[in-house]
Subunit: 134 residues, 3 copies
């Protein structure tokens, strides 16, 4: 049986994409699991998680800009906290990623990184990581 | 080995977000699994699943309204059943959630609830729940 | 312990939805796992995966058309490769699906098919499939 790991994240902007691939990879190594799956879960409602390119920072910039166009910050929302757009963007991105483990490592594509998606920062956030052998 | 559980849902509106957290939590308890993952799967093509805020009902209203703006009901679709927007919204939200289990309970954030997303109701729907120990 | 399977896909269009249900089902059968979960993972950053209707091809056409409206190909993106829209659409659809296995078969809904979503083709692509017993 594997414990659940927690990664703490401090976000510095209202919207941000933070690459947590190395942190997750480190936990997979620490678990000593050689074959299985790794579930990364975000326990928030205005932040999500995705996978995307880890090479050109313009992809991060373009994705943040375009998500703000798709789900505008102001759009006659009722929710009094004023962060409905953040709730919607988080649901569109999703709250978990399931990644395969092979030979004790995350089986990601060459250009893939795991990104924590902040949509209502800056805040202190966390991510849970669970590793299942099999 | 754990059986697959089924939750039946009757939706009353064309679009609806139905909180199924308690039902899923009850099944986790029933399974007697203390550590593992819980996969909640929607076997439909015009309904999906997400996680979001369980406190202010305006979040539900805003999310439903905004998804109707992002994917309009009418937009020169070809599909003769007339529910293409529902198919697209379901894919955007996704058909499964994977949630961690700790000490026999779903490890959700304070404000997180699990929502069944009806986009082509009213209908009788179902959700499958599978619990894996590990 | 189960191996990780790879499905190779050759896409012929810039945007395409390719039904890979039969290929995944075949691997589940080959694995001889009767109860568990099947994780289908896309190791790319401009292609994703979803589940949707496998009956009327107009659903595929409508979904491709509408995703191009939601995330336009050109929209003042900075990324020099010119495929930012593909990166964003892939994240919106997601990079994995988790499907339940019962009696040695994928437990999909009547109308559900598993679709590989190409957003920057034509290319040679691959999909990883991992089957966990439990």
């Amino acid at each position: 049986m594997q414990q659940i790991y927690t990664i703490g994240i401090k976000t510095g902007q209202p919207a941000a994409m933070i690459d947590i691939t190395k942190e997750v990879q480190k936990l997979v190594k620490e678990s000593e699991v050689k074959q299985g799956i790794c579930v990364v879960f975000v326990p928030h409602t205005t932040a999500g998680i995705t996978i995307n390119e880890n090479a050109d920072p313009d992809v991060v910039r373009d994705m943040t800009m375009e998500m703000n166009k798709i789900v505008p910050m102001k759009d006659n929302y009722n929710h009094m906290e004023g962060n409905s757009a953040a709730h919607i963007k988080a649901s569109v991105m999703g709250f978990s990623e399931t990644i395969l483990i092979e030979d004790g490592r995350l089986l990601l594509g060459t250009w893939q990184g795991i990104y924590f998606m902040e949509y209502d920062g800056p805040r202190f956030r966390k991510v849970y990581v669970k590793i299942l052998e099999g």
